[in-house]
């Protein structure tokens, strides 16, 4: 074969292989955007449900797109104060609900009551002493919700589903309790 034919053959093979890779990335992207995605969560605002250090969770996008995310669900949402930042909080109430919340639990017992406006949700972190949430930036439009967190995949010790109620004990401790029958 001449040099040109050899070169053409190599280019054709390279293109075929790269189309295969492109199709794979396509499939991954579609799944990530419309079905199920992963997220890295960190920070103190969802203690004890989520630890301070990095945890990897799975979030599904079908509930939020169909309006099925409701009170009790942990969701990932785009921060209303910084559109490039994503935060993880729990939905406390949806449109029309009466929410009574403690404004600043570290400093006082003062509570306020608010009705969540149409098309919005009220989100709070499980750790209300150290959480920047709807008590600070107000109710969040439903359109900012990105996905519902339903499963935790890292660290391996706390692999499992995320419930609709805030955990009261560090989930990592539960495993130790079960292995010690008295």
């Amino acid at each position: 074969m001449s040099l040109f034919q050899l070169w053409a053959f190599i280019v054709k093979e390279a293109l075929d292989k790269s189309f295969l890779v492109a199709k794979f990335f396509c499939a991954v992207h579609v799944t990530d955007t419309y079905l199920c995605s992963t997220a890295l969560v960190h920070g103190p605002s969802m203690l004890p449900t989520f630890n301070l250090t990095n945890e990897i969770v799975l979030l599904e996008r079908i509930s939020t797109q169909n309006g099925k995310a409701g009170p009790g669900d942990v969701v990932v949402l785009r921060s209303p104060e910084n559109p490039r930042k994503f935060v993880t909080k729990r939905i406390i109430g949806t449109e029309g609900d009466n929410i009574t919340y403690i404004v600043d639990p570290k400093n006082s017992d003062r509570t306020e009551t608010i009705i969540v406006p149409k098309g919005h949700v009220w989100v709070q972190g499980d750790n209300i002493y150290n959480s920047y949430d709807s008590r600070n930036f107000g109710p969040v439009p439903y359109g900012l919700l990105q996905g519902k967190v339903f499963w935790r995949i890292w660290p391996a010790g706390v692999f499992g589903s995320i419930g609709r109620r805030p955990e009261t004990v560090d989930p990592a401790l539960k495993v130790v309790e079960q292995s010690n029958p008295s």
């Binding site: 209303p80 104060e81 910084n82 359109g143 900012l144």
Partner: protein, 160 residues
Amino acid sequence: MFGKWTAIAKESIDRAAIVARFLCLLHVTNTYIFSPTLVYGPSMLPTLNLTGDVVLSEYISHRLGKVGPGDVVLIQSPENPRKMITKRVVAMEGEVVSFLVDPSRSDRSRTVVVPKGHVWIQGDNIYASNDSRNFGPIPYGLIQGKVWCRVWPIDGFGSL
């Protein structure tokens, strides 16, 4: 006989794969690059018609933070997340907005500072527009795209 069926099946799968790839490309372009959009309603008169215009909207600027005052944008409505509305950005975060609260009834005006991460949107037809004067400043994250130019009706062709 069986060989003929497999040949037909193989051809139809090949054709279907081409159609699927084309739809894939169309979907990616429509969601992430630009797409034609039908806009209708009285809130953007006289810029956009009451009965409907087809405009080209692009989805790149808002991801790069390049949306600014004067741009006509597509937004996910803060009152109904399934609805998309078209309004003009009047002010960005930190800016001061003075607006007429209800121009068809009174001359009363209010002044508001747009909070961090939000934008203030208004329809060009302030007499018949449900916009930030009613539901307040909206988070930047609700912006879905920027309107670029009108393609239908033909005599209205051109950038907005």
